[in-house]
């Protein structure tokens, strides 16, 4: 009976997750256009992919967004968690406020920040009207910095979650450690950097994996905030896949691009899984 009840799970695991992934990888070696066909072309799609400017831009954007987002969300998330962990009053209120953007969709996030960063009405306009007439801050209209405009929105939405995870990690630290450090006269910041953070390694690793797998998926935020523009300056791989498969009916190319995304995730996940589950067998 248990097996029958688990049929949806078995089907999902085998047909969708394993089957679907293999299917996509296999068909990335074909020249499928509007419909999937099995005319094999070897690595042609990949060659074309890496010769496409738009894909290169997408990858560069993902790298910048990814690295910045990793560093900033870890640092900001940890600092906020440490601040909230000082036995302060209204901890719940502060936490509720910092976490609420996480309840909002990326579409909503993207649209709000599109409005705030609007150069004619938003931040730039306000600073200018305060008297600094040459002030320029129009990330969404400037090809060179548009990805940072998206980063601002992404961080606003996501740091709350990181903070909550870090806070849970900090609460898991034995109070005795703090007492011992205080007795030894170690300054608070030193205790954090040299004792607490190393102890929170598992939390950091899990958070890292979470952020990393989220970064690869960035799609809705870009669609809402900039639609990939100006020009192609804020394209990301997930959007490249969607556009090639569903708007330009170039399936083979889309499969090749999504296989590259899979590869990128595998590079992050496999070492983590190895560390997490390889060393100590559970169950």
């Amino acid at each position: 009976m248990a097996k029958i009840a688990a049929i949806p799970m078995i089907l999902t695991a085998l047909c969708v997750f394993v089957g679907g992934t293999l299917w996509t990888v296999v068909y990335s070696f074909t020249s499928s256009k509007l419909l999937p066909k099995t005319n094999w072309v070897g690595l042609d799609q990949y060659e074309r992919l890496w010769n496409t400017n738009r894909w290169i831009v997408s990858i560069e954007n993902l790298m910048i967004y990814g690295i910045c987002s990793l560093i900033f969300s870890l640092v900001i998330g940890f600092v906020l968690a440490a601040l909230l962990d000082q036995k302060i009053r209204f901890e719940n209120t502060f936490r509720t406020i910092i976490l609420y953007p996480f309840a909002l969709s990326f579409i909503v996030t993207g649209l709000v920040w599109q409005w705030i960063l609007n150069p004619d009405f938003g931040v730039q306009n306000i600073v200018r009207s305060l008297g600094w007439a040459s002030f320029e801050f129009d990330p969404l209209y400037n090809q060179d910095i548009v990805i940072y405009g998206i980063l601002i929105a992404g961080l606003w939405q996501g740091t709350g979650l990181i903070m909550v995870l870090m806070l849970a990690g900090l609460r898991g630290i034995d109070q005795e450690i703090w007492k011992a450090a205080r007795v030894d006269g170690i300054p608070t910041w030193k205790t954090y950097i040299f004792i607490v953070i190393p102890m929170m390694r598992p939390v950091f690793i899990t958070t890292l994996v979470l952020i990393a797998s989220g970064i690869v998926r960035v799609f809705d935020l870009v669609v809402a905030q900039t639609s990939g523009g100006p020009g192609i300056a804020s394209e990301v791989p997930a959007k490249y896949v969607y556009d090639t498969m569903f708007l330009r009916q170039n399936l083979g190319q889309g499969f090749a691009a999504s296989t590259m995304m899979l590869l990128a995730v595998a590079i992050v996940i496999i070492p983590w899984a190895y560390l997490e589950f390889g060393s100590r067998k559970r169950d």
């Binding site: 009976m1 248990a2 097996k3 009840a5 688990a6 949806p8 799970m9 999902t12 695991a13 085998l14 047909c15 969708v16 997750f17 679907g20 992934t21 996509t24 999937p36 906020l80 909230l84 000082q86 302060i88 502060f94 936490r95 406020i97 910092i98 976490l99 609420y100 953007p101 309840a103 909002l104 969709s105 990326f106 579409i107 909503v108 649209l111 709000v112 920040w113 409005w115 705030i116 009405f121 606003w156 979650l161 909550v164 995870l165 205080r182 300054p187 910041w189 899990t206 958070t207 998926r217 809705d220 809402a224 639609s227 969607y242 498969m245 889309g254 999504s258 995304m261 899979l262 995730v265």
Partner: protein, 300 residues
Amino acid sequence: MTEVTADFEGAHGPKPRRTFSRRNIFLYGTLIMVALYYMLPLYVMIVTSLKGMPEIRLGNIFAPPVEITFQPWVKAWAEACTGLNCDGLSRGFWNSVRITIPSVIVSIAIASVNGYALANWRFKGANVFFTILIFGAFIPYQVMLYPIVILLREIGLYGTLWGLVVVHSIFGMPILTLLFRNYFTSLPEELFKAARVDGAGFWGIYFQIMLPMSLPIFVVAMILQVTGIWNDFLFGVVYTKPDIYPMTVQLNNIVNSVQGVKEYNVNMAATILTGLVPLVIYFVSGRLFVRGIAAGAVKG
């Protein structure tokens, strides 16, 4: 910031501190600044949605409205156009409701049975499927988008509401199964064993013992799913047709449409309307929401 006060206090309880110590000013000052920064977009959304367009063109987006008008809200809800349809976001809202309710029910039903089967029955190969499921959670959706299109086409659900329900159940499965499995594992095993001895079967135990005992985790799962499915954009745009587009997709089409004059106040009203459901759930559920995302994240 280092307060190495040589205190002998053997007694517990909070240390009496001066309210305006340098440490406190720094601490609360920083937190208040941060909180203001995080509140700012919500404030800007609300303020903008209550202004008329002339006022927006003249003024500053942070200024409170001089003349409050609810016209943008009415327009966003009932008149805003996407393509040729001009019946506002209300259509997207009801579509989202129609998508979210069955998706939440189906996905939770499946995942809770999965979790129960994994935690208490441990059939052969269970761990293999579970591991695949968990790894599946990390596979970028883009990899599985098209195979699922084919799958849905085969069973005749492509482009329909129920097709989207299937998709949400599939992608919600890893995290929810994990949530339920961990919860059921934490229940005392004697309960299960006693029920087995009394001759209760798979479903008997599930409905009569497990379900009544696990209401809190069902609430957590519901919060997780309602917000997740409501906020979904990708699946909505890939697997449905324009007439059943969920609210997020319709919102994006309204705001980012290239035709017509941009009405920022209507756009912002529409944006708040779309964010309202998850926001209300978030503020009402409080700790349970945090528990949901933490449970999902820590072991995900």
